[in-house]
Symmetry: C2
Subunit: 322 residues, 2 copies
């Protein structure tokens, strides 16, 4: 089985590749070739099968066609410009988040009738915009409040149409906000959800810019990899023409995050969180969803973390005690 | 006020232009310039203001920029590849129904900050796909069952995003199936809804390919023009960031259509309808919506025909007794 990972140098891409290397297979099939692509060439990896790695810009002429020339059986398309950048640079956002996807789908379509790969695409809960119900169901209308969410929602529609027409076998998974992200703090408005766990566990101070009753929707990076693998192997007959699935997750308040941190890191870790309200971040976060009833995905076998404690433990196991 | 009509040679475009010429104004503002565009140059019209007409293919380089160079205050974008053709020719459908719109929106964006025209776009109830509730509300998820519906749904998202970002002031109106269409029968699967009224009133036989209990959602072409004019002049502050509106209409069965025909044309007209079941058309039509509760649009002042009798009378008044 040949597997192509586009966006392999990102946080989720790297973890997916690690897992594929460890497993050596995807579902019942042994991996024979793993191709890694990102805007900068992903780090090479050692595996029990052939691995190639290259830098590529999907919107350059001929690049999408070259990437699918070897007719990979499964394509993971994780590459995206993130929310803040898509808002700051409109053209780049539409180019990377919409045009690149379309070029890729058209390149697959161009291979002809005998070729119909599984295509797994990471969408986002940013396809939804306020006002929200307390719990968002699978029939929630997509009314994105950002250009990023708009691009993801447009791409979901495209994927469903191309799947319906038989050009590929697509699954779009809407990821929760992933915590605890490893590495340094970043400037994303959602960054504090990770940093208030990560920094205290690493003996550093973290800033909390919102009240502790703020509620949001989370999954661990390990769960995200599980979602991707399941999306690559599930029986898509059950999806029908609706190829987009909101992934399960954990609805938790910041207070619940902090109590989970306390159970793992003790009062000392919690004492490293400094409350410093930030009006801008509070306003942004107030427009985010708080909870989902991801019934379709659960019925199809997608599984998230059991609770926020597990999310913290996953961080400790995967990043601090590797 | 300068007005640009793209798709001015189509059925709705011609009727919109006729109305603009008669009114001489759009809302409170007198029209100073009317520009008509279609793939073939629209017929010239005589008016109390300047009218220009040209053929243009929006996806050709520079065409979109040229069309908005005069900075029209209102743009009506009605041009589209219809459902059957978008399904038969995937590339043409995406090019005309998605790319052309995006080029147009980007050309407007490119004019700079001082320019923010009202942009009225004709979307379609084809953005919805089965399974449907009996009555579809304003919060129905868009799950198109065709490439045409997909393109319209993608374009709605783009219009909302560009409006939110302040590049233009967009309104997308989802038109009901328009009956009674003037002219010859066409090959559209929906054609019989018009022909079973039109042909009998013109002394000709019409074929009915579905059972009389089939229910669908209708408006007259005159109502469609009314929707366009209202969309061009309403206060969009009430729309917020959701720029797409399902238009009001009449939910009627074929039996109700036939009784309305009887009240206008008598038993003799009704006797000209020949029942000839067509499995293909029955299957297509079974995937179409039957009724909407278009509350948002009604609350914003959009008005449809009172009943199917009025739809038949509009045909008689506008087409047979002009």
């Amino acid at each position: 089985m040949r597997v192509l990972v586009i966006g392999a140098a990102g946080m989720v891409g790297r973890k997916l590749v690690e897992r594929l290397v460890v497993d050596g297979r995807l579902g019942p099939d042994a991996i024979s070739q793993l191709s890694l692509v990102d805007v900068s060439a992903p780090d090479p990896v050692q595996a029990g099968f052939a691995v190639d790695s290259r830098a590529a810009d999907l919107v350059e002429p001929g690049v999408a066609e070259a990437l699918v020339a070897a007719q990979p059986d499964v394509v993971f398309h994780l590459a995206a410009v993130v929310s803040g950048e898509a808002e700051a640079d409109l053209e780049k956002g539409y180019r990377v988040n919409l045009d690149a996807m379309r070029l890729l789908l058209d390149a697959i379509r161009g291979r002809g009738e005998g070729y119909r790969p599984r295509f797994v695409f990471t969408s986002s809960i940013a396809v939804f915009g306020p006002p929200f119900p307390d719990v968002i169901g699978d029939d929630q209308l997509t009314t994105p409040a950002t250009s990023y969410g708009t691009q993801k929602a447009m791409t979901e529609l495209l994927l469903s149409d191309y799947s319906r027409r038989g050009f590929l076998d697509g699954v779009a998974i809407r990821l929760p906000t992933l915590v605890v992200r490893p590495g340094k703090p970043n400037l994303a408005a959602s960054g504090f959800f990770s940093s208030i766990i990560r920094e205290p566990l690493n003996g550093q101070e973290a800033v909390l810019p919102v009240p502790t009753d703020v509620r949001h929707w989370f999954a661990s990076p390990r769960s995200a990899v599980g979602f991707l693998l399941h999306a690559a192997t599930l029986d898509t007959a059950a999806l029908g023409d609706r190829r987009c699935l909101t992934m399960p997750g954990i609805s938790a308040t910041v207070a619940e995050e902090i109590e989970a941190l306390r159970r793992v890191g003790g009062d000392e870790a919690v004492s490293r969180i400094r409350h410093e309200p930030d009006e801008t971040i509070m306003r942004i976060v107030s427009g985010w969803p708080r909870a989902f009833d991801a019934r379709r995905a659960r019925d199809l076998g997608f599984r998230a973390d059991a609770d926020f404690d597990e999310i913290v433990r996953v961080y400790v196991e995967d990043e601090l005690e590797p």
